[in-house]
Point group: C2
Chain length 348, copies 2
DNA sequence: CCGGGGTGAGATAACGTTATCCCGAAAGGT
DNA sequence: ACCTTTCGGGATAACGTTATCTCACCCCGG
């Protein structure tokens, strides 16, 4: 019976004891021996192949239950070549990220498991995470790309990596991506404020080295130019720091011709703006919806992204590419929606 | 040269073409052939074993670069027995979850990869996720347990699963866990409000079927009893729905002897309370710190959990258990801290 | 001059699956 | 009665790694 040398702890526990003291999990061989059938038959039963007789199947099922057998996906995946797993490399797992939620949901519907990790807005960490997922041979990766240098992706893509970028494109690389219509969003915000009588509109945004921040700031400048509005002291972009926001607001709201309305570049900036500035004589339209939007008085008017659409489109693109590696690259732009809640409808 | 039958697309791309049209990734065998060495030598170089000559090592490195070889972790893990991977099954990936962030950070420091998935507060989904991680043979799992029936974990634990529960224990099972000191938190909140002159203190909490909600509500009742305060209309627990919160507040704040202070059971409830109730004559202490806390006027006084400690302790426990499966079970309680910011210091 | 350590590198066997091939037996037709 | 067909099920070879064993070789002391 005891095939291996060490016969300590043979008191009929399920798992035998390994050399390292860890209990060895039962394998298909053990199940086959227990059921008195061939290894292959156990495999057939596990993958419920119809060609196995009902009587043998029962014997195998009983053996599986008796031994608490659980298949080892590592071996399955190695043999099969595919893992049924998608990776999600996002900036911060533990922040509110409705797109990630939609990605999980859509993947689940397609019977794919999503395993996620944070890149913490760190290019080196992003690379570590993505390469790790590649070595694990995930079927595909959903990536919120950081920074400008994604050269490390080239060999992976050449080797067959299926990748879809969300929220921003992978600069310099021709890969599938799903992004919001930032330009239309800014245009909608600008037009909305203009329609409510505002002529002096300021913009407070994120660091323009970030793709979306750059796109939104550029769109804002174009809107102002088209409206024939001067930009002096009206555009403030840079890293998100309370002091900078305070200074930007002071610059925009003081002086001979102060702003009467503000557009913010993302949800975090909306928070900082609202936090650092109490009197509500100024109209505000925020980019990105958030839980906070309905906490304020008046509630915050926002340009909301269609997170659900972004997430499910990302999974669709990824599945299509997994099915056909050579299909043409798609870059999808998802419409945004302006939700008027009060803060954007205040008069000048 | 062309070993396999189909010689289409042999235009000297790195990966040969598989029967399914997908490019096959190069393996150690390919590297060995390219470098003109034995398979084992490539393995030695990849795991930078010192016993390989510098000249051969260079040859192998060149071959790896030429072929863009990337080791397949599935095979490594299968062979090695361990995966160097921890799973995190949390209620909602894409919510703010400082504990998860601390878990990732601590794991990274220990050279472990954390892959996370959401359980969406759904017991069946939790089971699917955890069992999937088990079949993938993750070295350990960090779990935010949901519900009361975790029987499905028993065979996994018997088979050697390393598990640590965070935020709440796994009811009925003797596994490692890290939880905040909910009782001390409620006591601190109660004492703080009492010290500021409050005698009528109300509690609005989550559904008591949730462990933490039950623990906090019970602690509150005990505090009130000790203070000799009546509980009529002062304790409101149940699912988080705006209508319920509104009703609870109305009940607590109206009548002949209204509450002058409120303790909330978690951050979401704090939000709902603040949202649904405008006049600030009532003192508030919230359980859980959050971004919103410093958005309000006055800022929200909170009982803050030590997320960093919870996360790193969880990883410590997990690593210790992985190192020694048979070590005794530890249940760690992490202290909480009351942060006075204004809302809890208002007089009755 | 030869035997004994060290040392670098190759053949080969796992790890736990699934897929290919093949065979034995039962069933059906002439 | 015998041949053919079908069908359930078993042996065996992958999948891409790492570990064990073996061996050839070189250097050095006896």
């Amino acid at each position: 019976m005891a095939k291996n040398g060490d016969h300590e702890n043979d008191g009929h526990m399920h798992g035998e004891v390994n050399k390292r003291g860890r209990t060895r999990r039962p394998t298909m061989v053990d199940v086959a021996r227990e059921a008195g059938v061939a290894l292959r038959t156990v495999s057939r039963v596990v993958n419920d192949d119809a060609t196995v007789g009902s009587e043998l199947a029962k014997r195998v099922h009983d053996a599986i239950a008796a031994l608490d057998y659980r298949p080892d996906e590592r071996a399955r995946h190695l043999r099969l070549g595919v893992t049924g797993t998608l990776g999600a490399a996002v900036r911060q797992l533990s922040h509110v990220n409705p797109v990630l939620r939609a990605v999980e949901r859509a993947a689940r519907a397609a019977d794919l498991m999503v395993l996620a990790a944070s890149t913490e807005d760190d290019e080196r960490l992003e690379r570590r995470v993505v390469e790790s997922m590649c070595r694990r041979r995930f079927d595909g990766i959903v990536l919120e790309p950081i920074g400008a240098d994604h050269g490390y992706l080239l060999p992976e893509l050449a080797a067959g990596l299926c990748l879809v970028a969300v929220d921003r494109p992978v600069l310099g690389l021709d890969v599938d991506c799903v992004i919001s219509d930032n330009v239309a969003g800014i245009q909608a915000a600008y037009a909305h404020l203009a329609a409510h009588g505002h002529r002096r509109i300021a913009y407070v945004g994120d660091d323009e080295r970030i793709f979306t921040a750059q796109e939104r700031a550029t769109a804002f400048r174009a809107c102002a130019a088209e409206a024939g509005a001067a930009l002096d002291g009206m555009v403030h972009t840079g890293p998100i720091e309370p002091a900078r926001i305070v200074h930007a607001l002071a610059t925009a709201l003081e002086g001979p011709d102060p702003a009467t309305a503000i557009i913010t570049g993302n949800a975090t900036i909306s928070v900082e703006v609202v936090r650092s500035f109490d009197d509500r004589r100024v109209a505000i339209v925020g980019f990105d919806d958030s839980e906070l939007a309905t906490l304020l008085r008046p509630d915050l008017t926002v340009v909301a992204q269609d997170d659900q659409a972004i997430g499910s489109t990302a999974i669709d693109l990824l599945r299509a590419r997994i099915a056909d590696h050579n299909r043409p690259v798609h870059r999808v732009t998802v419409p945004v929606e302006l939700l008027a809640r009060g803060s954007g409808e205040q008069p000048p």
